[in-house]
């Protein structure tokens, strides 16, 4: 029987079964099928359309050694731990090879409910693990679902390894959905924000390009890469005996040239008020150590942006305090330095830029920011350049300069302490408020995690940076930063991906989750539950897209109209979403809503207990807007 015949038979069988089953079971079936209990049996036309007019394989068509098995061999050579995927027929052969031939290990298949979740999980994973996770995507529809998450990873300079299926050969493409899920140049729809892509025509081409893609993804500036896996190539019998998987040789990150390093060191050592701004500077834990060494060598304050680059409690953490006007500013992997450069120019200061970002730019998407006039511009990876810069600075420091730097360091330490004291004072504002203040949420959480190996796997921008203001961040894995391109829907899946990377290290992963973000693709909660990813999600439930409330309010004022309608299109409060029930529905522990601050610590403790058992948990906290 061919597949069409098989499906028709199944439909007839299902109708017969509905009539024959015992009463209790029949009732259950009816409840599951619809309000009036009528089980809709798909028509022959529907079945044919859904099957894409496909014939089931006959015994003579059995393929013992599909080419997709070799593709799995190639992928295994890349040390990919996981792949996130929402299933799709364009990669069906590869899917089967991964789970059977490949033993569903290295990479292990993670079931995702949305391609955006799969890619954003890989985004979060890479920021902890320091290497890519794979996302396996369906042709055209799956890739379009993934597009937003790909753009975030691109803008955040994070490696993600993607494979997408495609029916390349129109002559063998079957009628129906296979045409909707195929493209002439599939990668074109995301090429503006993918670092490199290829469409291998043969298995050797696949092997070469798959290894090359990994290498390119991991070379600073890192980014997502995409390999188009031809459906026909995947399923073809592999009769080749001379295939070779090339060796992966990582490309050393670009380092600043010695003349620019020496010139920069001279400026920094001579500076009276140097400032270091670090955005995506520390790619690895060693990056944090190097930045501490540079800051202490120069006694220069470090303004930490975006990622975990510098310990939050270090006396040199901060911008130098009120009135500190830097005469030399060193920018390390900062995306848009135009404002810094403009302000420096206005006061006669100098700007040194060390960044790999300028080494790989595209024209269409404008994520590179405004052109900035700087004094020294090194197209280089900051972390790779720091050892030479530190050495050169140390060589140039005279006893006189050291004394001046030490005096500056004392003032900077006092300024840092004052800012910290101010943060603690400000944390008391609205301490007993309901909805709960974000400072209180952060303060209640800290004593529960501070003796654990913890990791904050969510962005702090929407929570007024309270964790950074109150907690002690001193390890690279303790903070992963934000979306990259500001695309919402990143938060929940990136947290799951980062928690996945933290799992084998026994770390306690904390996700302070905005409500608007979670609602893009909440199915990732199921993925976390299904794959037993230990993660404490604490809802920052301000019942809306709060940034937009403020924007609409500003516009209303600008137009001399009231803000009493600013909730239209921005609030999520009628009806209020029950996130505890949502978590429970996806199979994980859920508690809340918590709106009385006195109930918060006990609920957080219960959530942490669950997570320590190796499962995800969600505590819904009704919070102040910011």
């Amino acid at each position: 029987m061919n597949r069409r015949g098989f499906l028709k038979g199944t439909a007839a069988g299902a109708a017969a079964l509905a009539a024959d089953v015992p009463a209790g079971r029949a009732q259950q079936t009816a409840e599951n099928r619809g309000q009036n209990g009528s089980a809709p049996v798909p028509s022959a036309e529907t079945l044919e359309r859904d099957a894409g007019g496909r014939e089931a394989p006959t015994p003579s068509q059995i393929i013992e050694h599909p080419s997709s098995d070799f593709m799995v061999d190639v992928l295994k050579s890349l040390d990919l731990e996981y792949l996130g995927s929402n299933p799709g027929s364009t990669f069906e052969s590869l899917h089967e090879s991964l789970i059977n031939y490949g033993g569903n290990t290295m990479p292990e298949f993670l079931t995702c409910c949305h391609e955006e979740s799969a890619v954003a999980m890989a985004h979060g994973y890479a920021k902890i693990e320091g290497k890519p996770m794979m996302a396996l995507l369906h042709g055209t529809v799956g890739l379009q679902h993934a597009a937003m998450a790909i753009y975030n990873a691109y803008a955040d300079r994070v490696p993600v390894y993607m494979v997408v299926g495609n029916h390349e050969d129109a002559a063998v493409r079957r009628p129906g959905v296979e045409w909707y899920h195929s493209a002439q140049d599939l990668a074109a729809m995301v090429r503006d924000f993918v670092k490199w892509d290829d469409r291998p025509e043969s298995l050797q081409h696949f092997a070469d390009s798959a290894v090359r893609a990994y290498k390119i993804a991991m070379t600073p500036p890192m980014g997502p890469v995409l390999i188009v896996a031809n459906h026909e190539l995947q399923g073809r019998p592999n009769t080749q005996t001379n295939l070779r998987i090339p060796r992966l040789t990582p490309t050393a990150p670009p380092q600043g040239d010695s003349a620019s390093v020496a010139q920069s060191a001279r400026l920094l050592v001579a500076a009276e008020r140097p400032l270091i701004i670090a955005q995506r500077a520390a790619r690895t834990p060693n990056g944090v150590k190097l930045l501490v060494e540079l800051a202490e060598t120069l006694q220069a304050p470090v303004e930490n942006q975006e990622r975990m680059n510098f310990p939050s409690h270090h006396p040199l953490a901060g911008s130098g305090g009120a009135g500190y006007q830097p005469d030399v500013t060193l920018c390390l992997e900062v995306n848009d330095i135009s404002t810094t450069a403009r302000m420096a120019r206005a006061r006669g200061g100098k700007v040194i830029n060390i960044s790999s970002l300028g080494l790989y730019l595209k024209s269409n998407i404008q994520d590179f920011g405004r052109y900035a006039d700087v004094d020294i511009d090194m197209g280089a990876d900051a972390e790779a350049t720091l050892p030479a810069l530190i050495e050169e600075c140390k060589r140039l420091i005279t006893p006189d300069r050291r004394r001046a730097m030490e005096q500056r360091g004392e003032k900077l330490a006092a300024a840092h302490k004052a800012v910290r004291e101010q943060s603690i004072e400000q944390a008391s504002f609205g301490w007993d408020s309901s909805p709960i203040s974000l400072a209180r949420l952060s303060a209640e959480l800290w004593p529960l995690i501070k003796n654990e190996d913890w990791s904050l796997v969510s962005w702090q921008g929407f929570i007024s940076n309270w964790p950074n203001r109150l907690w002690k961040f001193d390890k690279h894995h303790q903070y992963i930063g934000g979306q990259g391109a500001g695309g919402m829907g990143y938060g929940a899946p990136a947290a799951v991906g980062a928690a996945l990377a933290n799992r084998k290290r026994g770390r306690l992963s904390i996700n302070i989750q905005t409500d608007g973000d979670l609602n893009y693709a909440p199915g990732v909660l199921w993925t976390a539950a299904h794959h037993r990813v230990p993660l404490l999600t604490i809802m920052h439930n301000n019942r809306g897209y709060h940034m937009e409330v403020m924007f609409v309010e500003q516009q209303a004022s600008l137009h001399n109209r009231g803000a009493e309608r600013a909730h239209i299109g921005t609030k999520l409060w009628d009806p209020e979403i029950d996130y505890a029930k949502m978590a429970q529905a996806y199979g994980m522990y859920g508690e809340g809503p918590i709106s009385d601050p006195k109930d918060l610590a006990p609920a957080l403790k219960r959530g942490i207990e669950r997570v320590k058992k190796g499962e995800p948990a969600l505590i819904d906290v009704v919070t102040q807007p910011r």
């Binding site: 004291e421 603690i424 004072e425 400000q426 944390a427 008391s428 504002f429 609205g430 301490w431 007993d432 408020s433 909805p435 203040s437 303060a443 209640e444 800290w446 004593p447 007024s464 109150l470 709060h546 409330v549 403020m550 309010e553 500003q554 209303a556 004022s557 600008l558 001399n560 109209r561 009231g562 803000a563 009493e564 600013a566 909730h567 102040q624 807007p625 910011r626």
Partner: protein, 107 residues
């Protein structure tokens, strides 16, 4: 100058009959909470509790602020702003940080 004096005078008169309960409704209705939190303790915008401004000064600031969006007469009347001011005046102050053990441990 006369205009400012007149404005302050009207606002002072309006404040005399101010209604804190009504002010609370207006505070939410006009999205003041969005930046200052639901009970005025601050957020993206400034902390408004304790409200240290006199009602006329508060009204004058909201009409022509330096940072926040302006709320002019067409949008909110002096009487309505006086109600909001009365609401803010009625909100108790936060406990001092020194009295909160969790915060003291952070020092």
């Amino acid at each position: 100058m006369y205009r400012v004096v007149a404005l302050l005078t009207f606002a002072a008169v309006a404040a005399m009959g101010a209604d804190a309960a009504k002010g609370k409704e207006l505070y939410v209705k006009y999205s003041c909470y969005a930046c200052h939190s639901f009970d005025g303790h601050g957020g993206a915008g400034a902390r408004l509790v304790p409200m240290k401004l006199m009602a006329p000064v508060f009204t004058a600031y909201v009409r022509s602020p330096r940072v926040m969006p302006a709320y002019r007469e067409k949008v909110m009347s002096d009487a309505e702003l006086a109600d909001v001011w009365a609401y803010l005046k009625s909100i108790p102050e936060s406990p001092p940080a020194k009295s909160i053990a969790l915060l003291e441990e952070l020092r």
